[in-house]
Every structure is written in C-alpha cells, then in structure tokens.
C-alpha cells in the first residue's frame, strides 16, 4: 500500500450520507468498508471516528437507525437516510461542487486568460 490520505475535515458526513443514498440501509462496518472501497483504498479512515459522526448525523436528524440482521445473520445497527438527510446531500453536493470549481480555477495553468 502506498501513501494514504486522511479524511478531510468536514467531508466524512457527506461521504456517509452519499454511501447511504447509494446502498440504502447499512451498518457502520459496511459504511466504513464502502467509503474505503469508493476512495479506491486511497483514504485511511479511522473507524473510531465513524461512529461519533454517525451519532452526530442522527442527532441532527439526517439519518436514523434501527437494529436489524446483517448478511451473515449478526445483529447490527442499520442506518438509513431521512428526508432531511437527502436535502442535506443535495445542499452539500452543490457546495462542494462550487468549492472544487473555484479551487480548479486557481489550479488551472495560468496565463490563458491574459
């Protein structure tokens, strides 16, 4: 394995929400694995930070949780999006796209517009 990047501040929540949007209800371990996979194993995720993040999202009303059975018949807590969560995805996606677009202009080769 090569150099891995830490999860940027403030992005974990969006990653969790997006994962739940794609895959539907999922337990914490599954979310963690999915985030790593989606990043092409380039992200180093401390699983210990995932659970407080989930708890925070739940307190904010973006997701809700209930106990259910995992694929190999294990009792696990499953998280799923709420309506507020979906709205939050839309909003934060827009913000991020805007932020990356702005940053992209700075990073673009200079002189072209001169």
């Amino acid at each position: 394995m090569g150099e891995k990047t830490d999860v940027w501040q403030g992005t974990l929540a969006l990653m969790i929400l997006k994962t739940l949007e794609t895959l539907g209800p999922l337990h914490g371990y599954g979310i963690a694995r999915r985030i790593e996979q989606t990043s092409g194993n380039l992200l180093s995720l401390n699983y210990g930070t995932l659970y407080p993040a989930l708890l925070k999202l739940e307190q904010e009303g973006a997701i809700r949780s209930e106990w259910g059975m995992s694929e190999n018949n294990r009792r696990a807590k499953f998280y799923q999006l709420t309506r507020a969560g979906r709205k939050q995805i839309a909003r934060e996606t827009r913000d991020w796209q805007q932020a990356t677009a702005i940053l992209a202009r700075f990073l673009a080769p200079s002189g072209e517009n001169a």
Partner: protein, 881 residues
C-alpha cells in the same frame, strides 16, 4: 435548526447514558465481529485478525470515549460533577458552609426586603396614566406651609385662568357620616371635582365616572366606591350600582366602583368618593381654604412653566381680592414628590444600610474562601499536577461558590419575604393608610431581578477570591513545607478586607447612633400635656338634628355630664382639633389698638371646652382658663399659647389685650390666659402661635372628646361608647386612641423609630461580622507566625511582649478601619440629615461612643488569638516546623 435539534438530543443524552452505553457496546461488538470475520476470510490468524480490527478502530476505549463525548454535553457533565464535588466539600466542612450561607442569606434578606419597600414607593410608578405629568397644585403662605389648601373660588379662577394644565381638579379628604342599620357610622372618604379621575387617568371597573357638572350645587348626589369598600361592604356584588347610602342625612347614589390597584395616598384609605357639590359656607368664601389641587401638564409644558403660571395667577388674584388673597402665593410639585417625598430619605437611608450589610457579608465570605483556598493549596497543587488546568480549578471554585449562592440566595429570599410581611405588620394601620403603595408588598419581578444580579455578583466574587491565589506558583505548593510569600499575600489582602469591613461597620454604627439619639431627643420633646391615661375620640353628630347652636350646646353639656359620671373618668372635655394632628385649621386675626394693614397673621385655631386644658394636663402660665358658662351670651374671650405671646406681644402682657377676626366692624375678643405651648403639630416641628377659643362660643356638631382616666385608657372605652350611644345613637364615633399611642404611632415618631431600629439592627450585625473578620485575620496571622513567635520566645521575649505583638497588629487594623469609617460617616451623615432631630451630623458623643464600642470589640476579638500566641511553647513551635 439542525444544531438546535442536535443540542436538544445531546442534552437529553445526559439522562439516557446507560441505554446509550449498552447500545454502543453492542454496536462495537458487532463491528469487531464482522471485521474479524472478514480478516479471517482474508487469511489472518484469529489473533492477527482481532489485533488488526482493534487497530483500525484506533483502540476500543478511545473509540468509545469519542462516542460518549458526542453522545452528551460534556461540560455540563463536568459542571454537574464539579457542583456535586463542591457540595461534598461543603458537607465535609459544615461550619464554613453554614457560616457562609447564613451570612449571604442575611445580606440578601436585608437588602431585598428593603428593596421591596423602595421599589413600591420610589420605583413603581403611581397607578395613574402618565403619572410623571401630574402635579400637586397648592397655595402657599409665607413661612408656613408650602403645600397649603386652595379656597374653592380661587380654585375656579386657577382652573379658568391657567394656560399650563390640560385639566386642573380639586379634592379634599372627608369624613363620611353614614346612617346604617347598625346605627351611625363614620368612614373615610373624599370629595373631588368631577374631572378628578379623568385627570388621573383612572376609569371605574364597574359603572361610570362622575360626569362634568356633577360637582356643581344642585346636581344629584353620586358616590364612587373604592374596591375594598365594594368588597367589604357590598360583598363585591355587581348590583351595587344604583344603591343608596345615607350620608349626613342625604341619600347618595352609588354610580361606580374604582379599580383594585387604585390608591390616592393624600386622602388615605378613602372608601367613599363623592363630588364637591360646592354648596357649603366654606365654598362661598374666598378666605376658607379646604381644597388641594391636582393638574395634568399640557404637552411640552415644564414644571417651571407651570409654577410661573400659577404664581402669576395668584398675584393677579391678590391684586383683585386684597382682603382675602393677601400673601396667598402658589406652589406646584410633582404629585409623586408630594406623595412619597417624606418617606424617600428614610428609604434611602435604610437601603444604604442594607446594602452596606450585604457588602460586609460578601467581603466576609470572600475572605473565608480566601483562607480556605490557602489551606487547600496542597490539594490544588496535586490536582494541578494531575492535569487539572487553571480553568478547571477555577470552575471548581465557581461550583463551590454556586452552592453557597444558591442556598444563601434561596434562604435569603425566604427570609426577605417573611421580613417584608413582618415589617408591613409593624407599620401602624393609620400610617399604612397614608402609604397605600406599601400594601400587598411582595417579591415582584423587579426585586427578584435585583436578587439575581446580587447573586451573580456574589458568585463572581466568590469565584475570584480564591482564584486570585491560583498564581503560577501553585506547583510550588507541592514542595515540602513551602510557605513562600503566599501567607503574606493573604495577610495583606485579608487585612485590607478587614479594614474595609470595620469601616462599613463604623458607618452603620454612627448612623444608628445618630438616629437613636434623634429618637431619644424626639421623645424628650415636651408636648405640653400629660399623654398617659388620656383617651381621645372623634364624634360626629348629625348636622340636621343639631342645626341650632342651642342644640349643640345642650348636647355638649349633657354628654360631658354623662361621661364625667362614668366610674374611672377623672375629667372630660371637647375640642375642635386634637393635639399632635397638625398646625392646620387656621384663622386670621388682628390685634385691636394696633395699626393693621390687612396682614392675615394665619394662626391655628382651637375651640375647646372649659375643662380642656385641665383634662390634657396643660400648664397655665398666667391668667385663667375658660369658664363653663362662657357662651355666646357672654363677652368673647381667648387663650393664647406662649409662642403667640412671645411673637405678638414681645414687650407686653397679652392678658387684657383685645384681638379680632378680620371682619368689619371688628368683633373684640379679650385674651384672658396664656397656656404653655401644646404641640398641636408633629413632635418634630417647632411650636407656633396658637389661639384657643371657648367651644361654647364657636359651636360645631363635629368635635373631639378627650377623657382623663384613672384606669388604663382602653378599659374605659366600652363604657364611654355606651354612654355616647345612650346620649344619641345617631352620633358617629371614630378614631378612638390613647394620647400615648397617638404619639408613638405618629409619623414623626414611628418613622424615626423604625429606621433607628432597622439601622441599629444592621449596625449590630455588621459589627459582629466585622469583628469575626478581624478575629479571622488575627488568628490566622498567629497561626502563620507560630514559628517566629517560638523563636522570639526562645530568644527571651516575655509573654507580655508577645501579647503586645499581636494586639498591636489588631489595633492597627481596628484603628485604620475606625478612621476610614469615621471619615466616610461625614459623607453618610449628609444622607441622614433630614431625619436627624436636634442632633448634629457630626455629633461628638456618638462618634466617641462608636469608637469605644468598636475598639472594645476589636480588643476582645484579638485577645483570644493573642493569648494563644503567648502560650506558644517555643520548643514545640520550633520542632513542628
């Protein structure tokens, strides 16, 4: 929005921690099991799989700790834990906890209960619309009263001519003589002009207000009831409207009921309000003054403008009617000033006293906390070494301070509530009637707000006091036997605090001393009569039945015979006015045989029966008293008091001289006697010239009865009332009070007495607190200096020297405190000036007595520590250190 939700959830999380803990454990278990299973599938050994899973989680315990942190509001938990810890600390030290809480409760109780009175009188606006635009409007007489009454005709002119008031109305307090099924009754009432309530901005809660013109002669007689009268006399029934009362033989119809919170202090607790109906003989004479005015200022008009305007009108009337209006000036003052002006200095003095007591209590607790923090230096150093930051330690002080403030505050409020009720009960009912704003006092939001502010300030003080000891050297506290400069710091700060406390105690003691001495002087005032075993009573005979002078004369003679025949009655007499009631009810006179230029010589007039002076126990200076048969058929006579004799007849003997009223032609009245000054007005006023005429030559159906008794005054009252009823059941009686009670309940005496007692109480408590503070500093100092004293004694110092050492230290503190306090007293005495009576603000006796008391207490407080210092065993002292 979502943050609010999140915080609510986290706060709720404070109470669901055990369930959350269980769920968290289950979730982490599931997580680990799933990852271990995955790792096994990837070919790891069981042990390796578990290690890798925990590693990924960043360790199980740290992960759980993060989770818990997010689950609730951590600093609230910390604060809660600190507070519980603080509670435990206080419980471990009940002496400290009890002292601190009690002192704070005392300070808060004193200041809050006094504030409730201050709020009611000086802050809460009067229950009228825009009360700050209302003025009391008066006539004024040179060197007499600045708030004197208007005559009805003057009032009408003022009302018509003024350009500054949107409305000007008149009122007077009146005694209502009711004929009820139970017989004749008197009740407090008032007569007002028709627009009186509209000017105040008060509307009836039931029925209607007086209509314009309803105050003119010939209009129907109408009555408005006060709320209490409606409740008490009519059970609060709504069908009271249209009911009639019979007053002075006239039926009067109830048309309205006034609001519950309405009061108008100048007429006391008036139950019945009627219109002026200016039909009496007084109202038709410009020289008969019986009305007070209230005016509402027009927009944009200042009090100064109003005063100039009414003065100009008064001057104009003086020119127009030189006979009646000579020297009749004008005066206005804010209505609130007229109502609360006399109580304001008293309240401010009491508030200052209570505030000083609170300050002393706060300082005392702060220095206790300071001492405590000193002795807990090691504990703090250990906690600091174990990772508690400065902020964390301060928050612990705050938590302990909070406990003291919480208990002290709540206890203080409870005591304050009780004190308010007790104080209102101590105020005499008569006095309370004239200060209706003191009724139904309680802890209102403003007062509670003040309590909250005091609590927050106390909390800051109690946190800051021990926290200033948290210097960077706390780490040094761990070093064995570390003493450093810490002890000296406390001694310095503590000493200053004690000087401050002693100074405050001195100020309060001086104040109490001055007030006490004033009180003593006031009670030494010679009222010119013998107040014990003297009963007084006001009577009102129905004017219709006693319309002729002969009828009144017969009534007076028969009634006095009847009363004198009662067992236990030594003598009895009647008079138009009673002593100590005021210098009002004046008449105008001139001295015959001297040039007269129309001056009024406004002088109180009293119409008294022959036995009056003997019954009062007055002293005849020269001449004679009135004779029983001196009635209208005999030559007119008068008795003057010494003040009149001195003022008008400085070089001559007034006896035999003739005076007269201002009528033309003059009716000569011969002066036949001089009586020693009787205090007709309040005890604290100077004597004025007074004229006494025979009641039998100036008859009125309303008079007072004075009875000299041999048994206790009140035991005679039932017989007396029965005798009056026997004479005529239609005679109304009221105001039965013994002269001694009358003096003691009078405003000038009772205001001074209650303030002297309260300030005295504050001063005593302040003295105790300051002396306890002094003791604390000296005792602590002895503790710190045990080793030094041991060395001194080992080197040969005598015990006497050691005594001297400690007493000198205490002596300096006491001297500084006393000096600072005496200096501040000069300033404080200015506040007291209006309440002092025949005492200078800078009274040497009082100051010396205070210095003595404080000095003696200081010596006592330092004696015990000094004795302990002197009994130090040098060997022990040197060994232990």
């Amino acid at each position: 929005m979502k943050h609010l939700r999140a915080w609510t959830m986290r706060l709720a999380g404070l109470f669901t921690s055990s369930r959350r803990e269980r769920e968290m454990n289950a979730e982490f278990d599931a997580h680990l099991a799933m990852q271990i299973a995955d790792n096994r599938r990837a070919g790891m050994s069981q042990e390796e799989a578990m290690r890798e899973a925990l590693l990924k989680l960043g360790g199980l315990e740290p992960a759980k700790e993060l989770y818990r942190y997010q689950g609730t509001a951590p600093w609230i938990e910390h604060a809660l834990r600190d507070w519980l810890f603080g509670l435990r600390q206080l419980r471990k030290n009940p002496g400290f906890a009890f002292t601190a809480i009690a002192m704070l409760a005392l300070g808060i109780a004193a200041s809050i209960s006094i504030s409730a009175f201050v709020d009611a009188a000086l802050i809460k606006p009067l229950p009228y619309r825009k009360p700050d635009r209302l003025l009391g409007v008066f006539e004024s007489i040179p060197d007499f009263r600045e708030a004197s009454t208007l005559s009805y005709l003057d009032y009408l002119d003022w009302k018509r001519l003024n350009t500054v008031f949107s409305s000007l109305e008149a009122y007077e307090g009146a005694r209502f003589m009711l004929q009820t099924r139970e017989g004749a009754q008197t009740a407090r009432g008032a007569r007002v002009s028709a627009g009186f309530f509209r000017t105040l901005g008060v509307a009836p809660i039931l029925g209607r207000d007086f209509q314009p013109g309803e105050d003119l002669p010939g209009a129907g007689h109408t009555i408005m009831l006060s709320y209490p009268a409606w409740q008490r006399r009519y059970g609060g029934n709504r069908d009271v409207l249209g009911k009639k009362i019979i007053e002075r033989g006239e039926p009067k119809v109830i048309v309205g009921v006034l609001p519950r919170d309405f009061h108008f202090a100048p007429v006391g607790a008036a139950e019945f309000w009627s219109t002026l109906q200016a039909s009496g003989s007084c109202e038709s004479s410009r020289s008969c003054h019986d009305l007070y005015g209230i005016g509402r200022l027009k927009e944009g008009v200042s009090i100064k403008d109003a005063l100039a305007n009414v003065k100009a009108i008064a001057r104009q009337l003086e020119k127009q009617y030189p006979g009646s209006n000579r020297d009749q000036g004008a005066n206005v003052m804010p209505l609130s000033e007229y109502i609360v002006g006399s109580i304001r200095p008293v309240l401010l003095v009491l508030l200052t006293g209570a505030g000083l007591l609170l300050a002393i209590a706060g300082v005392n607790i702060a220095s206790l906390l300071l001492v405590r923090s000193e002795s807990r230096k090691r504990e703090m150093a250990v906690r600091n070494a174990l990772g508690a930051g400065r902020l964390r330690l301060i928050s612990q002080f705050a938590a302990e301070g909070f406990t003291v403030v919480l208990f002290g505050g709540v206890l203080g409020l409870v005591v304050a509530y009780g004190a308010i009720q007790l104080l209102t009960k101590l105020i005499s009912a008569d006095w309370l009637a004239h200060m209706p704003f003191f009724q139904n006092l309680g802890l209102n939001p403003r007062v509670l707000g003040l309590a909250a502010v005091i609590s927050v300030l106390a909390l800051i003080l109690f946190t800051a006091a021990p926290a200033i000891r948290l210097t960077p050297e706390i780490q040094g506290g761990l070093a064995e036997g570390a003493r450093g400069s810490a002890g000296n710091v406390w001694r310095r700060v503590g000493s200053r605090l004690v000087v401050f406390e002693l100074a405050i105690a001195t100020v309060l003691l001086v104040g109490a001393g001055l007030l006490g001495k004033s009180m003593y002087h006031l009670l030494q005032v010679d009222p010119g009569l013998q107040p014990d075993h003297l009963l007084t009573l006001e009577l009102g005979a129905p004017a219709k039945r006693y319309a002729k002078d002969a009828q009144i004369l017969a009534l007076e003679r028969e009634l006095l015979e009847r009363v004198k025949a009662l067992p236990g009655v030594k003598s009895a007499a009647v008079s138009s006015d009673l002593p100590l009631e005021g210098w009002g009810d004046t008449t105008w006179f001139r001295i015959l045989g001297r040039p007269w230029h129309g001056e009024h010589n406004d002088t109180p007039e009293r119409d008294v029966s022959a036995g009056y002076f003997r019954t009062l126990g007055a002293t005849l200076v020269r001449g004679r008293y009135f004779e029983e048969d001196e009635d209208i058929s005999k030559p007119r006579v008068a008795i003057v008091n010494e003040a009149l004799a001195k003022h008008y007849f400085p070089q001559e003997d007034p006896i035999g001289k003739q005076i007269s009223g201002l009528s033309t032609p003059p009716v000569p009245v011969e002066i036949v006697g001089i009586v020693k000054d009787i205090k007709e007005g309040p005890l604290d006023t100077e004597n004025r010239p007074v004229l006494y005429f025979p009641f039998n030559q100036n008859l009125s159906p309303y008079f007072n009865l004075v009875v000299r008794t041999s048994p206790a005054e009140h035991s005679l009252l039932p017989d007396l009332l029965a005798a009056i009823r026997e004479q005529d059941p239609n005679i109304a009686t009221t105001g039965q009070i013994s002269m001694a009670d009358k003096i003691s309940a009078s405003e000038s005496v009772s205001l001074r007495r209650s303030s002297a007692w309260l300030v005295g109480g504050f001063a005593a408590l302040a003295l105790v607190l300051a002396i306890v503070g002094l003791y604390g500093v000296v005792a602590y100092s002895v503790n710190r200096r045990t080793r030094e004293i041991g060395i001194r004694m080992a080197l040969g110092a005598e015990r006497g020297t050691v005594y001297g050492l400690i007493l000198r230290e205490a002596g300096w503190l006491a001297a500084f405190g006393l000096a600072a306090g005496l200096f501040c007293s000069i300033g404080a005495a200015g506040l007291l000036r209006s309440m002092l009576f025949r005492v200078r603000a800078w009274d040497g006796m009082t100051l010396a007595a205070v210095a003595f008391v404080l000095g003696a207490a200081a010596i006592l407080a330092s004696f015990f520590p000094a004795r302990r210092a002197a009994s130090v065993d040098p060997v022990e002292a040197l060994r232990t250190e």
